[in-house]
Amino acid sequence: MLKRLLAITTLIIIGYWLAQGLAGVPFGQDRMLVGKYYLEHVVEQTGAVNAVTAVVVNYRGFDTLGEVTVLFIASTGVGALLWSRKKRRTARTEGSIVLTTGTRLLAPFVMLFGVYIFIHGHLTPGGGFPGGATIATAFLLLYMAFVTYEIPHRAFEKIEGAVGMTYVIVGLIGLAIGGYFLYDWIWQTWGWGHDNIGRLFSGGFIPIIYTIIGIKVGTELSGIIDNMIKEEVSK
């Protein structure tokens, strides 16, 4: 009881302090400095109409490479922590008929929607990370519906590694052509897609990198699901 009172007092102090700090930041005012530059130059410099994904993939592409690395390390860490020699699916009851039939019908379309999200990352809200998460959701559905289902581990590991390498290779081609890592060679040097801004074939290398990120995130999150759902069987 004393602990709870102490916690509530601390929370009130922290909340008052945060509110005091935010009182000096009026809501809804124009405070853009760097953002203004991005918004004014995003179409001519990157070819993408979605400024957020242009910032994430193009202006701060190196940052995103680090982010993908963090996700990779987390997935490897989960695999290492939960590793054991004899791991198997231990679910006893099959999913209900609604779940199994619904999964059979919906899983391909959920994956298709994920692909749609990451291919149109430079045009619509979304991008590689939400698209990959959507694909992983389809695998989660398959895991919940069928007691013996497992992802094809070997293929997934190979795809994950190959796709991660492709990201670095795209960056190195930029280094060779334009002089710095992750230089957008498709848009700036080759000049592809200058005529159809706002359609699918524009945006330089943003769709390519977002496809890479989408596949990588999808396979990694599926691997995490697989690691967490399987249990050790001791006999």
């Binding site: 809804g28 979605n50 910032v55 994430v56 987390a74 922590l81 939960l82 045009l123």
Partner: protein, 114 residues
């Protein structure tokens, strides 16, 4: 008077912090951490909002002067992904804790060790 969005963000942060401070179950503490993270993300996005403007997607009718700041949104995109990664790590540690001690109550785990 602070805006309702700031109020919501601060409330989410405080609710999460309360769960982390008071709850004894490790899973509930992790849920509290996730709620805190949501609050911080909401705070960042609402600081970048400019009243009367639209999402930073430059389609017809939305020029550079009718869009909100894209940078906080890009930062929050990064923060969400890192949050998923850390939550997955923390959950697998919780799975190991349960396998080792048979309970998720932090006080009992502390007692078992000593």
């Amino acid at each position: 008077m602070i805006s309702v969005y700031y109020f919501g963000a601060i409330s989410l942060i405080l609710i999460g912090l309360y769960a982390v401070l008071v709850k004894k179950n490790v899973l509930k503490m992790l849920i509290g951490l996730s709620i805190m993270e949501t609050g911080v993300n909401l705070l960042l996005v609402s600081i970048g909002y400019i009243s009367g403007r639209s999402a930073p997607i430059l389609s017809e009718g939305i020029g550079p002067n009718q869009a909100v700041d894209p940078i906080p949104q890009a930062l929050v995109l990064t923060a969400i992904v890192i949050g998923v990664a850390t939550t997955a790590m923390a959950l697998s540690v919780a799975i190991i804790l349960y396998g080792k001690y048979g309970t998720l109550n932090v006080e009992e785990i502390r007692r078992l060790r000593g």
